[in-house]
């Protein structure tokens, strides 16, 4: 028996450590499954903020980009796993509401939320948290090397100088990509909007999976122009990367990050707690660190690198139209740009 003792001890130690780790996860708390498209580096602060008020509810985040989370929720409609949908685009919320997937609820303090930042019905199927909008990350170092001028308008990006230097998010998977496309269609009108995108497509180097990645790529100098959103742009700039934030003159695409309760949840009380927290002052203060406009307008805080007149630069966005035509727009986009071979 001299042989197996050390081995047994080794295996026992391994097994014990494995048990200890997996055992720790089992705790006596209400488990709440929340589907989200929030950035991973935002989740932790929001979760801690919520748990400060409600330590008895444990959130399990199911996170993916807007397009994937939207498709997943729709696909799971008959047998839903989500209790709450939080931090998902209002246009997607409109789609869920039309499918009868959301359970209307008026969270405490609803009256503070600006009328344009919530579902107009009473009680609302969803409430907004904050506004996130289009921002161009423009790499000044690489632009100087190549003699590329700083763009001021969206139209500028279709000029030959930007060929192969523009990256943008894929509208089917990224909420940021989707509001870019819907904003162009609304600013220029449908026919002109698609024509503009045809021109832009000539200059696009990659369509990327997330709204963050284009800015990160521009910030790392992989490309000169990354079409992204202000939160990621500010984060990258704060890390000392050589980017300028550009807010094109024609108007910025935008959407709301919104929250709602999934119909059929078995954790209704906990879900309502999360909804109440999501519109509370404490939550708004956290959103305000990341976004220039929050749903309770008086609690908005100016952000570095974001102009003071940011709100007036947002393009007119008809959520109902975007939600209703979501499938149609994405199919058209895919037909025009995806069936082409990968751009060289």
């Amino acid at each position: 028996m001299t042989v197996d003792r050390p081995t047994r001890r080794l295996f026992a130690a391994l097994a014990a450590s494995a048990f200890a780790v997996s055992g720790a996860a089992v705790a006596q708390k209400t488990q709440l499954t929340v589907y989200t498209a929030l950035e991973t580096d935002q989740l932790k602060a929001y979760q801690e903020g919520f748990n400060k008020v409600h330590p008895d509810v444990e959130i399990t985040w199911v996170r993916d980009s807007t397009g994937v989370i939207t498709a997943k929720l729709l696909a799971e409609k008959a047998n839903p796993r989500a209790d709450v949908v939080m931090g998902v685009a209002a246009t997607s919320m409109g789609v869920f509401d039309a499918e009868g997937m959301l359970l209307p609820y008026a969270p405490q303090g609803l009256s503070r939320i600006a009328a344009q930042y919530r579902d107009p019905k009473n009680p609302p199927a969803w409430v907004g948290m904050d506004v996130w909008g289009a921002t161009i990350c423009f790499n000044t170092v690489e632009a100087a090397k190549r003699g590329i001028p700083k763009p001021e308008t969206w139209r500028d990006l279709t000029k030959p100088a930007y060929k192969g230097q523009v990256v943008m998010p894929h509208p089917a998977s990224s909420g940021t990509g989707f509001f870019d496309v819907t904003a162009w269609l609304q600013i220029y009108g449908e026919a002109e909007g698609w024509k503009f995108m045809d021109g832009l497509h000539e200059n696009i180097a990659q369509y990327m999976h997330s709204g963050s990645r284009p800015c990160a790529s521009a910030a790392n100098g992989e490309y000169v122009v990354g079409i992204s959103f202000e939160y990621r742009a500010n984060r990258e700039k704060a890390q000392g990367k050589p980017i300028d934030l550009v807010f094109p003159k024609e108007g910025l695409g935008w959407d709301l990050e919104a929250a709602g309760i999934h119909r059929g949840t078995r954790q209704l009380a906990a879900a309502q707690k999360l909804m109440d927290w999501a519109v509370s002052d404490a939550a708004m203060a956290l959103y305000a660190k990341n976004f220039a406009i929050v749903a309770v307008q008086s609690l908005s805080q100016p952000l570095p690198n974001v102009p003071a007149d940011y709100a007036s630069r947002l393009a007119k966005n008809d959520f109902a139209w975007a939600a209703k035509n979501r499938d149609k727009i994405l199919a058209e986009w895919s037909k025009r740009y995806e069936s082409k071979a990968a751009p060289k």
């Binding site: 028996m1 042989v3 081995t7 498709a71 369509y207 050589p242 990968a342």
Partner: protein, 546 residues
């Protein structure tokens, strides 16, 4: 016997589920081949299928010759420090394939330090197919080298002597003796590399840009849209080349045995200055390339702002762990790898013991043997889809496993079962069956013999198997990406997500951590093995060479 049942439930049944599901519509009604028709009609899918094939074929065509040359240098030339080159060639096993993709971006991306080299090869960008093939070659290289090393170790010196006596030129000997002898090894290696490339998820995700491949399309369909029928159809289609490969490989192995007879004389290379110098240069170049790839990712993980501020920082490690919430992922990976090492080694060894050292159940035995070898041919992607279909089915009593750590452990054990099984069988074959006969005649129960003789003697192999499971569990993505839940997120998968968010430094940091962990575990296991060998395997040294 239990192992046989386990293999059936955790491998064959999920595969059967794929077959059944591919013939059903969304509501479970039988629709015959309608799903296949729909699939073949979709231009997006046929493009991805074509791309996947191109990617896998190019990777195979690049990897196998390189691996052959590398193994040739070690087995058939007189270069120095062979142990060193051999170990360096195996280093990529410790790294997730994503690490290579990240490194190639650091090296050849639009800000890459070597980007000016690209035009020499007629390339304008590393993104897309070129980067995918290079990254995949890096990951698949050690697997191909191992097979080629084994294949080139078998050769009959008498053939070369005969050729020498006829004054055959070196080149002719190479073409007429060496290459045909290694043919079967090359086929095996090609199959393994091809299967790996087909189900690769991480590499196209990170460096593939808009070059669509099946693994990613299917992930979007199955996870994003819960479109299990299309998943099942593609799973089945991918299984066809894999199964063909499996049976070809099997046939090849049988013929390989006949290559060596009892009268064969092992070939010992003689020095040849020109060849040896060429080979040494090649081996050094390959080894340097591999170390540069690993080193670049490690470097990238410590650089503050790539490429503008190259000062040293730990920020990427703290960012990933504190802000992006991936510390669980790393812990989960450690837990899963430890479970795979313990449970996997026990299961594999018990299964091999049952096959090799017990009697009876003659009808089941060949079936079990086949099932033990099957996982080698099943792309991880297909295994993952099979698991979803089988374990997520509401009528399956085992569906409680869905979304747990257990299902990750089980799928990983099955995924890497075949190689482990072969190691165990080889170790057991060294033991004379007389042990069992003697203990039976002495009325010693079989488990006593097993515990007191078989296990101690095979301990080095058991540790090898544990290490193999551990390292692969740390780096695997292809099957588990379909099966993880938010609570059982794994380190290798978190690299994909960090990269998606554009946090390439943190992605490199996580990849570095995985390499470091696998490396430390590998070294530890070598130390334990050495210590055990000295303490308990004295008989090996005393035994005369037969």
């Amino acid at each position: 016997m239990l192992v046989a049942v386990a293999l059936f439930v955790f491998m064959t049944a999920p595969l059967a589920a794929i077959l059944l599901r591919s013939l059903e519509d969304r509501d479970g009604a039988f629709v015959g081949l309608a799903n296949f028709a729909q699939y073949f009609a979709s231009p997006a899918f046929s493009r991805s299928a074509g791309n996947t094939l191109t990617f896998a074929l190019l990777t195979t065509l690049l990897t196998v010759p390189l691996a052959f040359a590398f193994a040739f240098a070690i087995q058939r030339s007189c270069i120095g420090a062979k142990w060193l080159w051999r170990n360096i060639a195996l280093v990529p096993i410790l790294a997730p394939s994503l690490l290579a993709a990240l490194s190639f971006i650091y090296l050849f991306g639009n800000q890459g330090i070597l980007k000016d080299v690209l035009p020499w090869f007629g390339l304008t960008t590393i993104y897309g197919l070129p980067g995918m093939v290079l990254s995949m070659t890096f990951s698949a290289f050690p697997h191909a080298v191992m097979i080629m090393l084994a294949s080139l170790s078998l050769s009959d010196a008498r053939l070369y002597e005969a050729a020498d006596s006829m004054a055959t030129s070196e080149w002719r000997k190479f073409v007429t003796i060496t290459l045909p002898g290694a043919r079967y090894g090359m086929i095996s290696a090609a199959m393994v590399v091809f299967t790996m490339a087909v189900s690769e998820f991480g590499v196209p995700k990170v460096i593939g840009a808009n070059y669509s491949v099946l693994a990613i399309d299917i992930y979007k369909q199955v996870i994003g849209q819960q479109n299990f029928q299309i998943g099942a159809v593609v799973g089945l289609i991918l299984l066809v080349p894999a199964l063909v490969a499996f049976f070809v490989d099997h046939a090849v192995r049988v013929r390989q045995k006949a290559l060596l007879t009892a009268r064969s004389v092992p070939y010992v290379p003689r020095p040849s200055p020109v060849r040896d110098r060429l080979m040494l240069a090649f081996v050094m170049l390959m080894s340097a390339a591999m170390l540069v790839v690993i080193g670049m990712a490690v470097f990238g993980s410590f650089v503050r702002v790539w490429p503008y501020n190259l000062s040293f920082t730990f920020n990427h490690y703290t960012y990933g762990f504190e802000e992006a919430g991936v510390e669980n992922a790393y812990r989960n990976s450690l837990t899963m790898a430890a479970w795979c090492a313990v449970v996997g080694a026990s299961l594999t060894f018990a299964g091999a013991y049952w096959l090799e050292k017990t009697r009876g159940a003659n009808l089941v035995r060949p079936l079990v043997r086949l099932q033990a070898m099957m996982p080698m041919a099943i792309p991880g992607l297909v295994l993952g889809i099979g698991y979803i279909l089988f374990f997520n089915h509401p009528a399956n009593p085992l569906n409680v496993l869905y979304g747990t750590m257990a299902i990750l452990v089980l799928s990983t054990i099955i995924h890497f079962y075949s190689s482990s099984h072969l190691t165990a069988v080889t170790a057991l074959k060294q033991l004379d069956n007389e042990f069992e006969s003697v203990s039976a005649s002495l009325k010693v129960p079989f488990y006593k013999t097993f515990w007191r003789v078989t296990v101690p003697v095979c301990l080095p192999s058991i540790i090898d198997i544990s290490r193999y499971y551990f390292v692969n569990a740390m780096t695997t993505i292809s099957a588990v990406v379909f099966l993880y839940s938010p609570k059982t997120m794994l380190a290798a998968i978190s690299i994909v997500q960090l990269d998606e968010a554009g946090a390439i430094g943190s992605a490199a940091a996580m990849a570095t951590l995985i390499v470091a962990t696998s490396g430390v575990v590998t070294l530890l296991s070598f130390a334990v093995e050495g210590w055990l060998l000295r303490r308990t395997q004295g008989w090996r040294r005393a035994a005369p060479t037969r």
